[in-house]
């Protein structure tokens, strides 16, 4: 399963990721992404794979990473 991991020591709540992956993420009131599933590292379905990679590239602070478990 591909999962999206947020490095919270880098994330500054910029918000590009939540815009690119609204199915997976919502911005909280401070701008930081919340996983809609409540998972720590939300699962990324195959259909969202390319958008997830776009999100990883778009994060200005390189706080996102995709991994497989």
């Amino acid at each position: 399963m591909t999962r999206l991991h947020v490095d919270w020591t880098r994330c500054d709540g910029h918000g590009a990721c939540a815009e690119l992956l609204p199915e997976l993420l919502d911005p909280d009131e401070w701008g930081y992404p919340v996983a809609r599933s409540g998972e720590r590292d939300p699962a990324v379905p195959a259909a969202l794979d390319s958008r997830a990679r776009h999100a990883v590239r778009s994060c200005p602070l390189m706080a996102l990473r995709l991994f497989t478990d």
């Binding site: 709540g13 918000g15 990721c17 401070w30 701008g31 999100a55 200005p60």
Partner: protein, 188 residues
């Protein structure tokens, strides 16, 4: 003869568009840092456009430098790409272009390798764009055969105004927090 004219035109044309794109990149960079969206572009669109403008500018600078190397009237040598202020033609103004190109090269390489060098190195190198743009601007204003013309000065003035406005916003207190009411993190 015609070849030289063509190269000269290419050299000037790419220079103008490159400066416009570098200016756009700075403005979009500040907008990206602000965390504010831009219409239907959203926040991710701003980031994408910032990078596209920058990379396109890099491509145009390559053509700009290449065409002037080939243009015998420009008297540009390969050493002038690396060592500033030793040029035959307007060495000081040209030298600023050398500085700009060298910084641009480092910024581009590090930015493309940002996931490997990590956010701290990336950020430190990226800050040098605030030295890059003024060098490029001064080089544009002083070096070319259009230097001193009304068209060029107007264009340069608009670019300057845009960057000054962007930087003023960047340092304004209202800029902080990416537009959200929140406690800021502390990075060590």
């Amino acid at each position: 003869m015609n070849m030289d004219l063509a190269l000269w035109a290419l050299g000037r044309g790419t220079a103008i568009v490159a400066l416009a794109l570098l200016t756009t990149s700075i403005v979009l960079g500040v907008l990206a840092r602000s965390g504010r969206p831009l219409g239907s572009l959203g926040r991710f669109g701003v980031v994408d456009l910032h990078r596209t403008a920058a990379l396109t500018a890099v491509g145009l600078v390559v053509v700009h430098v290449g065409s002037l190397l080939l243009d015998s009237y420009a008297q540009l040598r390969l050493v002038d790409l690396l060592v500033p202020f030793v040029g035959a033609y307007r060495p000081v103004w040209l030298g600023l272009g050398t500085v700009a190109v060298d910084v641009l090269l480092v910024v581009t390489v590090v930015s493309l390798a940002r996931h490997r060098v990590g956010p701290r190195v990336f950020r430190a190198v990226h800050l040098s764009t605030y030295a890059l743009w003024p060098s490029a601007w001064l080089h544009a204003v002083g070096t070319g055969t259009d230097s001193g013309t009304l068209t060029l000065n107007t264009f340069a003035g608009l670019c300057l105004a845009a960057v000054v406005a962007a930087v003023a916003w960047r340092v304004a207190p209202s800029f902080a927090g990416r537009g959200r009411a929140r406690v800021e993190r502390v990075t060590s």
